[in-house]
């Protein structure tokens, strides 16, 4: 990114900048500047819309594109069926949106658009302010569904079957803590995984640049291996992008299962 002066700040890629002079936009005193983060969200939504739209030809014999879209919907549908059961069907729109939104965001953050001068990739899933909103949404759905369906019986979630009576003072406390930790673990897992990968890539890229600037010998012995490692880690990051989106969706559906069925 910061090719000038040969210095690479691995954290600069996470910088949020207001764009189009929107610094002063605000609602009720809260700033809602249209930032590079928001731009990438918009790109994500546009691409996701285009992707799903391509699968809406509704042909009885699907083409490749329609097949791809149906594979994703079917994947989420199967996951909900397996984890929640028949009642899981109604969460398909939410889980699908969640999974695809995160997946597209993760993958878009890996697209090397940085080679175009002045364009900087931004992975908004590497911000806990974003992943936190998604996690709180998922957690709220679990709470709302749980209390809606079971009322105060939902609290029996904190007393697993077979809890010995003499442990009744301890187990619910532990269960409650593990329950309350869920939104944080959801949000932090995604944010940390995304951020770590991007920092690692950026640090390695600074190795490449600095070692080549340091001379041919440094370039050959540090720069080249670092570059090879970057390629390998980029492949790994594509995998991580998919896995993190999957984990987020899977855990959300597991939590929804708790809310639907207690346990």
């Amino acid at each position: 990114m910061a090719a000038d002066a040969g210095k690479v700040d691995p954290m600069k890629q996470f910088q949020v900048e207001p764009l189009f002079g929107s610094e002063s936009w605000e609602i009720a005193g809260y700033g809602i500047a249209f930032t590079n983060s928001a731009v990438w969200m918009a790109i994500t939504v546009a691409l996701l819309w285009a992707f799903v739209f391509g699968g809406m030809k509704r042909e009885l014999v699907p083409g490749r594109w329609q097949m791809a879209v149906e594979t994703f919907t079917g994947f989420i549908d199967d996951m909900l069926e397996a984890n929640v059961g028949k009642e899981g069907r109604k969460y398909l729109p939410y889980i699908f949106s969640l999974f695809m939104f995160i997946l597209f965001a993760n993958l878009l953050g890996l697209v090397p658009v940085g080679i175009i001068p002045g364009v900087h990739a931004f992975t908004f899933t590497s911000h806990f302010t974003v992943t936190g909103v998604l996690a709180i949404l998922s957690f709220s759905i679990v709470l709302i569904v749980g209390f809606w369906k079971h009322g105060f019986k939902f609290f029996s979630l904190f007393v697993p079957h077979g809890t010995p009576i003499w442990l009744l003072w301890l187990i619910p406390v532990i269960e409650l803590i593990s329950f309350m930790v869920r939104p944080f673990s959801l949000a932090l897992r995604l944010f940390v995984a995304m951020m770590a990968g991007h920092v690692l890539l950026k640090v390695l890229s600074s190795f490449v640049i600095d070692s080549i600037n340091g001379g041919a010998v440094f370039g050959a012995f540090i720069g080249v291996p670092s570059l090879i490692l970057m390629v390998a880690i980029s492949a790994l990051e594509i995998l991580v992008a998919g896995i993190q989106a999957y984990v987020f969706a899977l855990l959300t559906s597991l939590y929804i299962n708790d809310a639907e069925h207690l346990h």
């Binding site: 969200m41 699968g55 079917g74």
Partner: protein, 164 residues
């Protein structure tokens, strides 16, 4: 890290735009488009299962028809076998009757022939007796010049014939 350093100034913008764009994703794509995709999948699954059911029904019908055909065929074959057996039996009966009649005719012919032979023999015997009697009388009259009456001649002839 900027996520924390900038937190105070960007958090509201981040939350706002995340809600906006995820909201668009959820309501437009999740609620609007995904059900239609799933509907298409459901329609296809239904079509496939319907086609399979139709194929199964057609196959069952074909099986039933084949079964009926086989039954009919078996019945026809059995009927044909019955007809053949009947024809065979009647033919056998007729030929037996004919044979029996022919046998009877032969038997009567044989019996008649035997009777005829017996009669011929009896008459021949009688004739021989008569001839022998006459010859005896003749011989006696010629040799002895005496007339032998018929009765003694006959008894003599009979005696001689019985010995002969």
């Amino acid at each position: 890290m900027p996520q924390i350093d900038q937190l105070a100034e960007i958090w509201s913008s981040q939350v706002f735009w995340t809600l906006v764009f995820f909201g668009i994703t959820f309501f437009v794509i999740g609620r609007g488009m995904v059900p239609k995709v799933m509907e298409t999948v459901g329609m296809r699954d239904k079509q496939i299962s319907d086609d399979l059911a139709a194929a199964q029904a057609a196959r069952d019908a074909a099986d039933a028809q084949e079964e009926a055909w086989r039954e009919r065929e078996n019945a026809n074959r059995a009927k044909a076998q019955g007809l053949i057996a009947e024809a065979k039996a009647s033919a056998a009966a007729a030929s037996e009757k004919k044979l029996a009649a022919a046998q009877k005719r032969l038997d009567t012919k044989l019996a008649k022939a035997e009777a005829d032979i017996e009669a011929a023999r009896t008459s021949a015997m009688a004739e021989i007796e008569d001839v022998a009697l006459e010859a005896t009388q003749d011989i006696v009259s010629r040799l002895a010049g005496t007339k032998v009456d018929k009765r003694s001649a006959r008894s003599a002839v009979k005696k001689a014939l019985a010995n002969g």
